[in-house]
């Protein structure tokens, strides 16, 4: 039996068992549809031609990708700044923390008011939700270098920039990838939260619209596609990690 099949078989079997049990229990106990729809109903909604799934997935997908990309770039840049300059770290950290802790749901309406009812505030919120893990993980990674390695490089008259480029950056990579994994999934959540506040299309928009029209299968189906989106991003990051860090094979956990 091919390795791939053996590798994924247990998880798949478990998923099938769960779905079958779910379907049976919902029917058996006459669970109201709006509380928990049956998998068969959700499946029907997933492929319902009267819902423009590609369009909604695309809309949310764009928000996630752009918000995530900005979070990665800015997150890494900020991490560099706070690692290289203790002074700037003191100045910037409170603001970085604020961006993380401030409840986005509360500030989302203000952002829409300021930037208009389009995708810009949505992308902004996605960015705000996703960027903290990038900063923290990258900063930790950049600081994780064995100080004796610094000594070693210094003994060859390495400059601070040399140490950063040749040692700190590569040493930070495993941490950066952890950050990417967390951020990418948070980006999906962030886009979703923003769409809950205001949207014309997208998976989050569909969830709200389905809820207010009491269409539970549609709400679950939209959530299902969101989950798929998150899994896809995670998988992409994991593949990128494997390709970029061939030396990390024995230490990789996820």
């Amino acid at each position: 039996m091919p390795r791939v099949v053996v590798h994924y078989a247990p998880a798949t079997i478990l998923a099938v068992v769960v779905l079958v049990a779910w379907q049976a229990l919902v029917r058996l106990f006459h669970v109201p549809e709006i509380i928990l729809p049956a998998p068969s109903q959700i499946a029907a909604a997933l492929v319902d031609p009267s819902v423009d799934w590609p369009h909604h997935i695309w809309v949310t997908g764009v928000e996630v990708v752009i918000g995530f990309a900005v979070a990665v770039v800015l997150g890494i840049a900020l991490a560099l700044v706070i690692v290289m300059s203790a002074f700037l770290a003191r100045v910037l950290l409170p603001w970085i923390l604020l961006a993380q802790i401030a409840p986005k749901i509360a500030f989302a309406p203000i952002l829409f008011l300021a930037f208009g009812y389009n995708q810009l505030p949505t992308i902004l919120i996605t960015f705000l939700v996703a960027f903290f893990p990038m900063v923290v993980n990258t900063a930790t990674g950049l600081s994780s270098l064995d100080p004796r390695m610094k000594d070693l490089l210094r003994s060859y008259q390495a400059s601070r920039w040399d140490v950063l480029r040749k040692a700190q950056f590569p040493a930070a990579l495993p941490y950066v990838f952890t950050g990417l994994k967390v951020s990418s999934t948070l980006a999906v959540i962030g886009a979703n939260v923003a769409e809950f506040v205001s949207a014309r299309a997208g998976l989050g928009f569909l969830i709200i619209n389905a809820q207010v029209t009491f269409n539970a299968p549609l709400a679950f189906a939209a959530a299902g596609y969101l989950i798929l989106l998150g899994v896809l991003f995670y998988a992409l990051v994991a593949i990128l990690e494997r390709v970029t860090m061939p030396w990390a094979v024995p230490h990789r956990a996820a």
Partner: protein, 378 residues
Amino acid sequence: MPQGEGNNASVHDADADAAVATAVHGAPDSLFEVQPQGARMKSITRVLTSVLFVAAFAALQAAAPAALAADKVTFKLDFSPVGYQAPFYAGVSRGVYAKHGLDVDIIPGNGSYPAVLDVASGRIDFAFADTSVLALAALKGLRDVKVVAMVFEATPYSVLYLKNKGISKPADLAGKTEANFTGSGVGQLFQAFARINGFSTSGIKEILSAPPTYLNPLVVGQADFAPSTVNQTVNLRGLAKQAGNDLQEFRFIDYGINIYGAAILANTKTIAEHSDVVKRFVRASLESVQWAARHPEAAVAELRKTNPQLKKDRALAELRSILQVSIPRGASAPDPLQLGWVDKAKMTRTVDLVRESYGLKQTVDPRALYTNAYVAKP
């Protein structure tokens, strides 16, 4: 804000009404969506296309006569797309707004209060929001927003209840469990409903949930009643029955509360500076409301063009119930502009009821909340 009358032309011209309709709902979805899905172009082709596009745009700008250029307006609704908003969506997709020289961008909403605030701030040109919410905002000091056309002549507010929980008259609600959400307007007005119908709310237990799903406890019987709107009754009756519950309603208008429902709102600045646009918008909107009242099935079909995920029969039932209760003269009025008329006494009643329900001391002159300049007296 409307981009000025005539001079600042958009690319849309009268011939492209249908394209406008889909463009309104297609293009603005994505600020960054430049090319059709899946289209891949080599950079040189892209540059050439951009150059051609710019040239065409410039040519159209020069060619389009000022009279044909449409005014861009933003119109925020009170809710996520649902059946009773069909009149407005139909107005866009059938080109009624375009016929009046308006390029309307409908923005789904998430409540009347945010919609009122959006108009007040100038971020949005027009809103469709409940008059009682406007009254609340005005009582709290907001003076920049007015009704320019009434739409729901009678409030659609209603108390949904489960008959099988031993409720047959309003007084039976005392001591029962209520499903509600924080900040609910109708939930607060329920205080007045209780006073008028002679029972106390002090013993009532509350189940609070998030706005989109706050009625779920009622459907499954965890709650006994919920303040809501008439269109939800038709939505939920079948679902409640599935769960073994008999869903009925006490409509506000049947139980002593005869106030206004949702209306078209605009900022006083818009009224002052773009009166012509307001006039055209009101006319197109009320024409669409009448048309929907006369052709509800077709209106729902139009709604489903841009929102195909809505179920046809539910949306139709919702629209019909709203038309019956809140726009009773919709189909019969000889002039659609008559549908938008605001009666001072009724507006005063609306304001007073809000004052009482929220326990406010401040007052506001009801006349400051509306203008009949754009509508006709029935």
